[in-house]
């Protein structure tokens, strides 16, 4: 976790500049990773179905920076950023996307099923909201065994329309388990805009917490410091035995739903505007007043990492066909 200081005189918390620089580096790493994924997909190298989180990096970094290695989480179809932020090396993630045995799921999972039990990644899920109930169960196990750990579920605004969401939050609140539900509200479910899928105004989606009497914490999802502080507060709340938290962050999906999505449904001008004004990396860069050299240095560093991950992945081992049935049963 990054150091939190008091904002001089205000009593409010703030994150040190050093820590913010660390966040910046990680967010840029995620961005470059996602861009590389898009590129390699277009080059025909990546099989399957891919979703990148460009625009949502501050959520992954902000939340995961507030967690310890023992804390666990479940992710979604848009999984790469969460996995990186929780500490899985990009090599292992890229190798997974290439279907290699060195991948974080041994080549069995793919982009929508990144796992890494060692760092607490319980698995990304290709079923919307599919991972939420297990997070309640994981948190229950921690509670029953008196372990000071939280379980975190990432999911989108679209996921809040599922019955699974409702049952999960409801049970979590009833039993006051140490879970954090991170609602990454980007205002889209695939091609369907907020107005067509959410009965509440998009910015008021936090009201869903009221149905359970659950603690709601909200933050600007494009401001990594805000997300980080909110996640810390959520974690404290959950660990204090006060029950789970709905952590609602408004964020922006600055690309298509999936890699290759022509976005016929999306207003070009609005998208352009969003890319200009809502990019969490630009916003943080500006705030940190990074010089061009600073920026170039960091970029070179993370880009090299990403390039190396592609090399690593390509040099990886293809599983044998008959390995397919190796893990059907324990």
């Amino acid at each position: 976790m990054a150091t939190v200081e008091e904002k001089a005189g205000t009593g409010k918390k703030r994150v040190s500049n050093d820590a913010l620089r660390g966040f910046f580096r990680e967010m840029l790493l995620i961005r470059r990773f996602e861009e590389k994924v898009e590129e390699r997909f277009r080059a025909g190298e990546l099989p399957g179905f891919l979703h990148v989180a460009i625009g949502q990096e501050a959520v992954a970094t902000g939340v995961c920076s507030a967690l310890t290695r023992e804390d666990v989480f479940a992710s979604t179809h848009r999984a790469h950023g969460h996995a990186i932020a929780k500490g899985t090396p990009v090599d292992k993630i890229m190798a997974e996307l290439y279907g290699k045995m060195e991948g974080c799921s041994g080549g069995y999972g793919g982009s929508m099923h990144l796992y890494d039990l060692e760092v607490g990644n319980l698995g990304a899920n290709a079923v919307v909201a599919g991972g939420l109930p297990a997070i309640v169960g994981a948190a229950l196990a921690f509670q029953m065994r008196d372990e000071k750990r939280v379980a975190v579920a990432f999911f989108g605004d679209g996921a809040t329309n599922t019955g699974t969401f409702h049952e999960s939050l409801n049970l979590a609140q009833l039993w006051k388990v140490p879970a954090i539900f991170v609602l990454e509200n980007n205002g889209w479910a695939e091609s369907t805009p907020a107005e067509q899928q959410l009965p509440l105004p998009v910015d008021q989606l936090g009201k869903r917490a009221a149905a359970f009497g659950m603690k709601l914490i909200e933050a600007d999802g494009q401001d990594v410091e805000a997300v980080y502080l909110a996640a810390l507060a959520a974690r404290d709340h959950a660990l204090a035995g006060k029950g789970p938290v709905l952590l609602h962050v408004r964020t922006f999906r600055l690309t298509g739903h999936f890699v290759g999505d022509p976005q016929v449904y999306r207003d070009r001008e609005a998208l352009k505007q969003e890319r200009e004004t809502k990019d969490p990396i630009r916003l943080l860069g500006a705030r940190l007043e990074l010089t061009d050299e600073d920026l170039a240095a960091i970029d070179a560093e993370v880009t090299a990492k990403v390039e190396a991950s592609v090399e690593f992945a390509k040099a990886g081992t293809d599983p044998q066909p008959e390995d397919a049935l190796k893990y059907v049963y324990a």
Binding site: G48, A126, G163, A189, V264
Partner: protein, 326 residues
């Protein structure tokens, strides 16, 4: 005769029904502006407007369930479940509600609802976007189950499903959407419950569904060059099932292979085998061979996926096995 892709054929049936009949409307995730995740419903929003081409929230229970309610009130909704893996979320509504209302009400209620869905492997989707679950629904009295394999069939059968007064679970196969084929100039309904003999043969009958119809046809070609004459039958409707055509074919050829993409164990091939071994017992010269996916969740890496999912070569091998028995 004009040529359509499987995708266009589905769209054509939908458009025809929407034009003919105010009670027909569509609901599903991303079916409007985007035209569905498989581009099947592209253009329909423009022609029919947002009241009849309805994007829904991600709510598979409510999508099916509201379809049921609208159907009972005299509409003919066609709802889409984006991937059949997500049918798992609407099983309660399909199985306990749609399938049973008519019997439970003593015949008062009708549920003319069509549930379109699609699935299938072959594109590295991973384990949660590629299942073939049609067999479950064959076990549910009150439902009808349709699984067409060609543009002509998908168009004619979708039409009949929409106008059937019962809930129909309508399976499309993802890899078939680009497949081209001739269709009648006028949309011709194909009755539910009639199998199609794709190819006549003398030595062995392959009863195949979905993508495996095409793999079976390929295998049949290959077998021919080995001197084995293969008949390929596609039931098209799994429930009700055209037992007569299927059993008739096996009585003629005396050997049978079943083929689908779903895992073998507990699959539709089991039901076929059970029916055929009974109906053609005295004719059978070899055990019925079943072709289907190997018994595991679909792994992501292409080499493993390819090995798990059945291909023409697997059908061919099964044909050889069954012919080898004397």
């Amino acid at each position: 005769m004009p040529e359509l892709t499987y995708r266009e054929a589905v769209r054509d049936a939908l458009a025809h029904a929407l034009r003919k009949d105010d009670s027909v409307f569509l609901m599903g995730e991303d079916i409007a502006e985007m035209g569905g995740s498989m581009a099947v419903t592209q253009g329909l929003l423009e022609e029919f407007g947002p009241k009849r081409i309805r994007n829904t929230p991600i709510s598979e229970m409510a999508i099916v369930g509201s379809g049921i309610g609208a159907a009972i009130q005299g509409m003919r909704p066609v709802v889409e479940i984006m991937y059949e893996d997500f049918l798992t979320l609407s099983m309660e509504q399909l199985v306990n509600q749609a399938a049973k209302h008519r019997t439970m009400s003593g015949g008062q209620v009708k549920v003319p609802l069509t549930i379109r869905t699609q699935g299938g492997a072959g594109w590295s989707p991973g384990a949660q976007h590629a299942q073939q679950l049609e067999a479950w629904f064959v076990h549910v009295p009150g439902l009808k189950v349709v699984f067409p394999s060609t543009p002509e069939d998908v168009r004619g059968l979708l039409w009949s499903s929409i106008y059937d007064d019962n809930p129909v679970v309508f399976f499309e196969h993802r890899t078939l959407y680009p497949l081209k084929g001739e269709v009648p100039t006028e949309l011709e309904p194909i009755p539910l419950g009639k199998a199609r003999i794709h190819r006549e043969g003398e030595d062995v009958t392959v009863v195949a569904t979905g993508r495996l119809v095409h793999e079976a046809l390929q295998a049949a070609e290959a077998a021919e060059s080995e001197g084995i004459s293969v008949e390929v039958v596609d039931p098209r409707t799994l429930l009700p099932l055209d037992e007569e055509t299927i059993i008739g074919s096996v009585c003629k050829t005396t050997r049978c292979v079943t083929a689908h993409e779903a895992v073998v164990r507990g699959g539709f091939g089991a039901e076929l085998a059970a029916i055929i071994q009974q109906g053609a017992f005295d004719w059978l010269d070899a055990p019925i061979e079943r072709v289907g996916a190997r018994f595991g969740p679909l792994p992501f890496a292409p080499a493993m996926e390819q090995w798990v999912v059945p291909q023409a070569a697997d059908v061919l091998e099964a044909i050889r096995r069954t012919v080898a028995r004397s």
